[in-house]
Symmetry: C2
Subunit: 595 residues, 2 copies
């Protein structure tokens, strides 16, 4: 078989049976081989960026490694923003880029020219900072080995994207019969054995009386979510989650208290700031969780972080309230969970977190809609949440729409996700396309904003052509609401490139131009269940007041318990009764006599 | 002033007075400073890729360094395909990317995490292969120096793009009064002095009787185009051009014989293959000029290449028919041109190139349109060529539409260009936006295809909102014609991901959805001059037969004189009467007795 045929068959055997692509001169042989393989399908996108984001979606929804095939040069570079989504969120994907025939460079040896072949680009070096492995196959005899190696690396240890760059001569070369070359990724060997992990956790919980667990995405990426959820419920330990962790358990758990962070639930943030023992399972505690003022996070607690990536543990070495983290593969967690001793909880603490959940969980006011009588995005999300099937797939985009969805969506059995670390404008829609292609029996809901909608608007054509069952919801606040809110705070309300200079089309005309059903929603009553009951593509354009804010939201420099809009001192002080109270500290300093 | 204010003022003083941008958290301070600078404007794009391509356009049209400002992470990575256009075509551009606050990483020192701050990405390492200089400013006291250095590097020597990554703390820092720091880019010192260049050229032309000059883009990038054109006409030396060179002289010159290459003019290619002395002025002879079979190029000639980039000369060291190239800055060409002795031309040669021009220049048949009575794209281009003002700006995209435009456009005073080396789908339209913003008094014409139109369709909004005087022409062949032609030749007509799987919207509905004038052209008579006479944005959708081919076109492995459709032996042999005739060589080998 040829190199191209090998690639097609290799992907088929791993379940990546629908490849997301745009064809071009340098990848035409691979595309043709995929087309000829009876077990393979492909989907044509209108921009490679969308193909990469759709591929990123597949592990999140189906535990399948998403695959793209694109041409050299611009085809390859157009993938980059999508690849970065996978890298920062530990999602395995494989990207096959065609490269120009190597004999086109033969005469160039020794010359450091900017470009040898037409559309030739050094994509391998370019993606090194955002892939686990990137390699150009210069000899067809290495193709099998390198493809097996790249794939193994993608799905082992802390997972992530890989890229294999394949010149046209390698695609056309005879590589013999189908066979595979074993490769064991060394990083799967992590430091801690289950027994050591167990001992550390039991030692950690031996003291303290206000325990808390943070449920991170790493639990789910390791496949330990079912057991972890059951254990947390059985042991009645209060737990909170990161945004990427939220998709891995049922929010009906009586001791789940919300997600944390800059835009997190007030109650969940209070728990972080009042607990005395915080066990972090598989979360990298990025700055949208800990805030820019990371040192103020869990300031009154000892923190123990469990992570598969040792570098993520090294980063805490300057934080004195962190235990040495445990470099542990959570796929081995289920086996030792029952041996973890249930941490002691004081009655005060049980009362505290029960009340905190009662007071703040699922209850977020939205001041601008209340003031003007316009639609509250939080209410819209909750309404949609209730009418869609329990097994729906829900994708959120970036900026304000992302915050609103993750602030108010109550997950039971749905799959809900976003590209948390990279958070590009325009992720949700192409991601939903990937999800819909691999899940014909599930309803797919994508939330986006008006600015983000424009970023990948071209792929409405892909949705239409493939008749995908996606409900694409625009939380339309007429221009980069998250930036406007920032400008109001720091730039005296000057709205450069948001209110002023930014523009958007009439989405209704465009959506109908693509032949897709369109619903304009100007009153919450118009957001009817039947819109979501019918199968097939539709765009639902929900008009918000342009000043609709993200609430609550942390302002720069603050610690996560003290979000805007600011709570009255009485409520705040009561909520901070166990933890370090920064507000009181400021008052104390102000009233202290000057020295 | 703050770092952000310094950036705005720095760009203003260099004439980059309209910055192409999308705002975001990490660049908001710079955008605000631009908005507050009374000498500055900005244009909001709907995708950063389009902003970078628009910026790439400005040196080609106005000798202004195009500037973009975007946010960290996806904002920055979305620029990459556009930056690559500038790099491969030696176009200076400056890209300012916001980066996360450095104090967000303070605690991370020593840990090699995938990402520290939210949306943090190592853009500097990623763009190193496609920029002349890329730097992150980690200390605000270096801002002035680094910005001056980056800009100097962009416009000196062989020009190209630069990227400056600026953390939010540096944007906000006080950098004092406005001042600049001198920086002399060392690469401007090239090896050859004008006298040495002169001696080499005169020695080169001392012998031989069939001289030819290739007019490359380097002549124009060095600002030597007017004198070079006058010199060529005065000395009556036949000359041909590269695609990127075509914009720098009037094609009415009696001794200009067409552009060369894989899709080049037959007559021009015959000249290359029959001359005995080829002087190449500022062209890198990429593989779309020399073909993949580069060794067959100008096989019967001695070749002397003049290039500002010495690496481009090193690459010929294995080609025995090339003289050692001259590493010379063509901006010094004008001063020595008159001292170049006019090369001798035999009467046979003068008759040959005169006849060749007469026979092939501006005369290209298009077989499919002739067969089906559909529109010939070449005829459409020629018709548009005639009705637009002589000072129009014309941008071509990629693939088939690019070939058709450069095969048939006759340049008098127009500016005509494309992103030759990178050649991404979707370049022409955003490039035309950049051109239109800086040239309110000139008509801008962009040619694209149906596949490429979809790549940056979102920026129809930018065209509409800014009421730009662009006529955007879709040479609509219903799906990746250049790839279909390849598939017909090599894949037995299997049209995977082109005819099959590819789809496109009804552009009329979308264009009108954006509120833009739309013309559907199904007969050549409907392509009326009045469509181009009115000011303002319009899209002209020219329907072609889906099988419309690129003719002539070189097939893989051949040398450039023998393009498809194949000429009869008699015509071919006559045209190859001075040069190495590969067809005859094949015959000779076939008829030779086996040994």
């Amino acid at each position: 078989m040829t190199g191209a045929e090998y690639i097609a068959e290799f992907l088929r055997r791993r379940g990546s049976t629908n490849v997301f692509l745009i064809t071009g001169g340098a990848c035409a042989f691979i595309v043709d081989a995929i087309g000829r393989n009876p077990g393979m399908k492909y989907t044509c996108f209108q921009h490679e960026q969308a193909a990469a984001m759709a591929a990123d979606s597949l592990w999140r929804t189906n535990k399948i490694v998403g695959a793209t095939v694109v041409t050299s040069g611009p085809g390859a570079t157009n993938l980059i923003t999508g690849i970065a989504c996978s890298f920062f969120d530990s999602i395995p994907t494989i990207h096959i880029t065609g490269q120009v025939n190597q004999n086109e460079e033969l005469n160039y040896k020794g010359a450091k020219v900017r470009q040898a072949g037409f559309q030739e680009t050094n994509i391998v070096d370019m993606v090194k900072p955002i892939t686990k492995y990137a390699v150009k196959i210069t000899d067809s005899t290495n193709l099998k080995q390198e493809l097996c190696k790249a794939y193994s690396i993608a799905i082992s240890g802390r997972m992530g994207p890989v890229l294999v760059d394949i010149p046209m001569d390698v695609q056309q070369a005879d590589v013999g019969e189908y066979s595979e070359v074993g490769f064991e990724a060394t990083e799967t060997v992590t430091n801690a054995k289950p027994a050591d992990f167990l001992a550390t956790v039991n030692e950690f919980f031996k003291t303290g009386e206000r325990p808390l667990v943070l449920f991170g995405a790493g639990v789910g990426l390791a496949g330990a979510e079912v057991e972890t959820e059951a254990w947390l419920i059985e042991r009645k330990i209060p737990f909170v989650s990161s945004w990427n962790g939220m998709t891995y358990f049922n929010h009906e758990a009586p001791n789940y208290c919300g997600n944390i962070g800059v835009y997190g639930n007030r109650g969940a943030n209070f728990l972080i700031q009042n607990c005395d023992r915080l066990l972090v399972l598989g979360s990298r505690l990025d700055n949208r969780q800990r805030s820019g003022n990371a040192g103020s996070f869990a300031k009154s607690a000892r923190v123990l972080v469990i992570d598969i990536d040792n570098e993520e543990l090294i980063k805490y070495q300057n934080n004195t309230n962190y235990e040495p983290g445990v470099n542990f593969d959570l796929s081995k967690l289920a086996a030792v969970l029952t041996d973890i001793k249930t941490p002691f909880q004081s009655d005060n603490w049980i009362e505290y977190w029960t009340n905190s959940k009662e007071k703040y969980f699922g209850k977020i006011p939205s001041s601008i809609p209340e003031k003007y009588g316009t639609i509250s995005p939080l209410e819209a999300v909750r309404k949609i949440n209730k009418v869609i099937p329990r097994n729906s797939i829900v994708v959120a985009d970036d900026g304000a729409n992302l915050c609103w969805v993750f602030q108010s969506f109550f997950r039971t059995e749905q799959t809900i996700y976003t590209a948390g670390g990279n958070s590009p404008m325009g992720y949700a829609f192409p991601a939903s396309i990937g999800a819909a292609i691999y899940n014909k029996d599930r309803r797919v809901i994508a939330f986006t904003g008006d600015g983000s909608m424009q970023m990948n608007i071209q792929d409405l054509q892909t949705m239409k052509f493939n008749d995908l069952d996606i409900k694409l919801i625009i939380l339309n606040n007429f221009g980069y609401g998250i930036i406007k809110q920032f400008q109001d705070l720091y730039f005296n309300g000057r709205h450069h490139a948001t209110g002023e200079g930014y523009s958007q089309p009439d989405f209704g005309k465009l959506v109908e131009g693509y032949g897709i059903e369109y619903h304009k929603i100007e009153k919450i009553e118009d957001l009817r269940g039947d819109i979501f009951a019918a199968k097939g593509p539709a765009v639902i354009d929900i008009f918000l007041h342009p000043d609709t804010m993200i609430e609550p939201k942390l302002e720069m420099g603050r610690s996560i318990e003290d979000q805007f809009p600011y709570l009255p001192d009485e409520e705040f002080n009561s909520a901070m009764r166990f933890g370090f109270n920064a507000r009181l500290e400021v008052l104390r300093k102000k009233s202290a006599p000057e020295v």
